[in-house]
Amino acid sequence: MTLVVLVTGVPIYWMFATAFKTNQEVYTVPPTWFPARWTTDNFLDAWGHAPFGRFYLNSLITTAVSTLAKMTNAILCVYAFALLRFPRKDLLFLAVLAALMIPEEVTVLPNYLTVASLGWVNTYAGLLAPTFASAFGTFLMRQHFLSLPREVLDAARIDGAGHWHTLWHVALPMSRPVVITLFMLTVVQRWNEFFWPLIVTNTASMRTLPIGIYYLFTQEGATQWGVIMAGVIYVVLPVMALFLFVQRYVVEGIAAGAVKG
């Protein structure tokens, strides 16, 4: 087990160790396991070489807005499909599910053309618009919403609560674990998104973090590994910190989804 952990963990350790080494030490052979002289210069250099502040802002905005929109869509949709009556709603549900089979890569070219025709290339609107729909979230939460106790929901309705109120104040509080799991998965997925922002942005000021470090690398080449690793840490640190706190929700949520599905 130690071996398994080492093989998985060493690249992550190596990223941290390199970021704190001096440029001279980075290129010593054989490499040193611990930085001989600790330095934070790489972090300052990385921040100076690329507008990381702007990358953070862009990543935060796109992740937050996109996650919020996706979650809202998924929650509204799953409540409607699981708990409201509508003629032939099974067919409509199939239309949502079938979208799971159309991956981003297949839609990327036409969506680029759509966004371009709206004049949204290199804007937040362009970065965000195609990410708002949710097929996966609706699918993930459906079983849970179907299993919500009808009596409680009906009681709320009888007390005069509208569907809007029942959804947010009765159904949602009873669904906390599945909602948090979906939230975490969506945040991580949005934060790491690469293909679409790569295509739809064309200036440094609109790039998100995963695209930003890629361009930092193409500019610095393989000459400044300490600086590049510092940039990589800027990108991965928020995800790792988040994971530390909510590990259980993510891991167990994924596992539960697979066992039921």
Binding site: M1, V4, V5, T8, V10, P11, I12, W14, V29, P31, L76, C77, A80, F81, L84, R85, F86, K89, V96, M101, I102, P103, E105, V106, T107, V108, L109, P110, N111, Y112, T114, F132, A133, S134, T138, R157, I158, G160, H163, V188, N192, F194, F195, P210, I211, I213, A222, W225, I228, M229, V232, V235, V236, V239, F243, V251, I254, A255, A256, A258
Partner: protein, 317 residues
């Protein structure tokens, strides 16, 4: 119900009328339908615009020649399809995609199962180990790719040092066409294995203890127990994992873009990567659309296989 309208309300219905929401039933039903539409409409219209309409557009674009800028799209019939499918590179691209997908998924599942079996033992620190294994899954592919470009560097990389311990000279991983594909597979597997560990662990914990006890009573050794209890018990979840892993391996892009850009030459160019090349490097919308539809076809076939399997499972169990 015209009949009930003509009859005086019985005691029972009057009671229900009190308990019901203030709206009369008919308006309540109408309201429910309108609410349904209001809740579902945003998501469905977004899916229509950004998922379904692109499929239609892809079909159209695959029949035209267009550089994505000119106002005119020139109808060329099946020419794009012919050029792509008979092109000198297509055979290699298809082979790359096949090799990348099969090796990535095969290794991910084999390693994932081994690690899951290990972590299923009551060992100290297994939760921490699970967390470490799962971490790469969550990190951005572009960041991971950069770490590994450095690790694999034949001059200063850590892998070079590790190989030198056993007296092997480091290959020039990303520059040598023979080693580039194995290198990106290695990185993909490193990133993906944690996900399959978590899923396999969930599957292992779902196998009833009594089955192992029964097998032991019948005199089955560890290997027999693995073959007769563990493997069949993991069957359904393995299939789920197989399909989802195949689907995500076929879509791999960020690691390829950053590590090799499809190269050297076209040694790591897959269907997705060629779609990107045609669409966003060569600005050839027609051929990019052909690649999009090929990719969609492969994914559709895989999903159909999964659906059929699930259906059979439901029918026979």
């Amino acid at each position: 119900m015209p009949l009930s309208l003509s009859l005086p309300a019985s005691a029972g219905t009057r009671e229900r009328a009190v308990a019901r929401p203030p709206l009369p039933p008919l308006r309540g039903a109408l309201r429910e339908r309108l609410t349904f539409l209001a809740f579902v409409a945003p998501n469905l219209s977004l899916l229509a615009v950004f998922s379904y309409w692109p499929l239609v557009q892809n079909v159209w674009l695959s029949f035209v020649e267009w550089n994505m800028i000119a106002p005119e799209q020139l109808w060329v019939g099946l020419e794009n399809w012919a050029i792509v499918l008979s092109g000198a590179d297509f055979r290699q691209i298809a082979l790359n995609t096949l090799l990348f997908t099969l090796f990535s998924v095969g290794l991910t599942l084999a390693l994932g199962l081994s690690c899951a079996l290990l972590l299923n033992q009551p060992l100290a620190g297994r939760n921490a180990a699970r967390a470490v294994l799962f971490t790469p899954t969550l990190l951005p592919g572009s960041a991971i790719a950069l770490v590994w470009i450095y690790m694999l560097d034949p001059r200063w990389g850590l892998i070079r040092t590790v190989l030198s311990w056993v007296g092997i000279a480091s290959p020039r991983w990303l520059i040598d066409p023979a080693w580039a594909l194995p290198a990106v597979i290695l990185v993909y597997v490193w990133k993906a294995v944690g996900y399959s560990v978590v899923i396999f662990l969930a599957g292992l914990q779902g196998i009833p203890r009594e089955l192992y006890e029964a097998a032991r009573v019948d005199g089955a050794g560890p290997w027999d127990r693995f073959r007769a209890v563990t493997l069949p018990g993991l069957g359904p979840i393995s299939f789920f994992l197989l399909v989802t892993s195949l689907l995500s391996a076929i879509q791999a892009f960020d690691i390829l873009r950053v590590m090799t850009a499809g190269g050297p030459v076209i040694a790591t160019t897959t269907l997705v990567y060629q779609l990107y090349n045609e669409g966003f490097v060569a600005f050839n919308a027609g051929r990019a659309a052909v690649y999009s539809l090929l990719l969609f076809g492969v994914m559709l076939a895989l999903t159909a296989a999964q659906l059929r399997f699930v259906e059979r499972r439901v029918t026979y169990s």
